[in-house]
Subunit: 348 residues, 2 copies
């Protein structure tokens, strides 16, 4: 069942059917009615595929994330997906499990599939192959929008959070609670969020005349296991910190794992403030003070940016003159885990 069949049964030409379908051009009300009736009767559904090929644009965008199971990314996907379905886009999902090679593979497949656009959270900030492929995509007219993580000097549109301010707030909160020895389980310096959150940490210290101690800053690589190891390193120092600031949800979990295994009680033995909330914890003894941000909205905004670029491209051609970078604000939810340890010997 195609547009010709419908045209024939309705006694009109395919172009008229097309006009009706797209609600474009002038069609007499009566013929429109008739065509619509036939379409209904025959249960005809036009092929999006053929339309895309013909019109040269496509209403799917691809979303590439490093870790599908991380709730942070699920929330972003949710935001993207909901906005997309409202505006009539489909979302192609790809995960790379944080492996650069898989990122390259996916990018290659996208070069073939030619989606309408790409929203991406790159595995690494510096990656020659990824850079090349992203550039190729853009040059093929496929807009690229970044979320959360930045990508080297490529001047790409993107949605980011105020990582610096967030971390600064989080650490300041610990300082105000009386802490002077504050460790940080950071993210990779090769990522924007990792870097900015470190800077926020350092700045907060400086602003309160607390000396930055090299050994208090360890890299958890945004992963649970690595952060667990980082935490171990931190707590085995001869003069361990009384508080820890974790750079993301996974780092927080790694930290909690270590504490659990070593019988360290929150507040009693160690204070903790994390970046990004972990909602499941709110019903437990781990009442975490956290830096929050509107994650769902980051996805939503990324999709909005994408639509805008798609629209601009259609209306103004390829001559994009501006790069849009959106920042979302961070907040602080204080639940008590920042308190100064009341201590009972042990590590303190």
């Amino acid at each position: 069942m195609n547009i010709y069949d419908i045209a024939e049964k309705a006694g009109v030409s395919p172009s008229t059917v097309s006009r009706v379908l797209n609600d474009r051009g002038n069609v007499k009300e009566s013929t429109k009615k008739k065509v619509l009736r036939i379409i209904e009767e025959e249960n005809y559904i036009p092929s999006a595929l053929a339309r895309n090929l013909s019109v040269g644009e496509c209403r799917n965008i691809a979303f590439l994330a490093p870790d599908i199971e991380n709730p942070f990314f699920s929330k972003i996907l949710h935001g993207i997906s909901n906005r997309a379905s409202q505006t009539g886009y489909g979302v192609f999902m790809f995960g790379t499990d944080e492996e650069p090679e898989r990122e390259h593979q996916v990018l290659d497949s996208l070069l073939r599939d030619k989606p309408g656009g790409l929203i991406v959270i790159p595995v690494q900030e510096h990656d020659r192959l990824t850079a090349e492929k992203l550039k190729t995509l853009e040059s093929e007219g496929i807009p690229v929008v970044l979320v959360d993580r930045d990508f080297q000097d490529a001047s790409l549109d993107g949605v980011f959070s105020e990582d610096f301010q967030g971390a600064r707030k989080g650490v300041a909160c610990l300082i105000q609670a009386g802490h002077k020895k504050i460790g940080m389980i950071g993210g990779p310096v090769t990522s924007r969020p990792g870097r900015e959150r470190r800077k926020g940490y350092e700045t907060a210290l400086r602003e309160h005349d607390i000396r930055f101690r090299e050994e208090y800053m360890v890299d958890g690589n945004f992963m649970e296991e690595t952060s667990y190891q980082a935490m171990k390193k931190l707590m085995e120092l001869t003069d361990p910190p009384t508080a820890v600031f974790t750079a993301n949800n996974m780092a927080t979990l790694g930290c909690l794992k270590y504490m659990k295994e070593n019988d360290l009680k929150l507040v009693r033995d160690l204070a903790l403030v994390g970046f990004d909330d972990i909602p499941e914890l709110q019903y437990t003894d781990i009442q975490l003070t956290v830096v929050t941000r509107p994650i769902y909205d980051m996805g939503w905004e990324a999709m909005r940016l994408m639509e805008q670029r798609l629209k601009d491209k259609k209306e103004l051609g390829e001559n994009r003159k501006v790069v849009q970078r959106i920042m979302v604000r961070t907040g602080l939810v204080v639940r008590g885990s920042e308190a100064y340890p009341i201590g009972e010997g042990g590590t303190l």
Copy 2:
């Protein structure tokens, strides 16, 4: 840059280029080399779109899930996505936020987009419109595979878990710990998992000569807030249970929320066994005994089933003679929360 350009530069015909591209038919080694060289030089990438239109099949499958942010679904998506990317499929992601109308909308859009197949976790088991649309998809040659939740009498392929056995094991564990008054926060009876898990609960009771009490079975609808309310109902009974079995991860959270708010301590005041693990809790005071299942693998298997159906369709035509339903096993992880309350007055 299209296949004609390449053909011209290579001094051959488009069909030869096509043959080279698809590694099909006989092409002289030397011309093949030449064509390949030009392709490389020109950085040519064939359009999957055009190919799909021409050949009438497509290597994307759609995945429709009711709640993108629920870790259960993320894990399934992860399994699907990883298998898909290995076998060269793309995954279209759609969420419905548990709203039947959105499910209908998505299904409509799929009818237009004609994906290669559909893997779906339906919102409701009985839904006339969804049933119709799924049937239409199948009749259009688009295979449908279910995951986790079943769909009325439609004889569709699917991957499910041994919900009955899982629940039975979970409840039996509570009974063995000494409980006789066991409540359940169940899922909707209109869903297979909801029904089966209830049956498992009832069976476990019967097998241990414990009378089933109507008031101990409340519906939490697989959602946190509803389960919270259900829990409230349960605990406000004049003779409240000493243990609760929750039908899914959200029900467990609702239950924990109530406990937190009402200062009920796990084990001390109430025992709890849940269906599906909540990994974040393992580093807290909530050491939950849970029924587990290989969720990632459920997604993986669903995709495998899908590929098989796609292959059968291609090789044998539409005459599918069997319906394949895969069951994954459930396990029990005992962590202590099933223990008989040592009590100190209060609710007990």
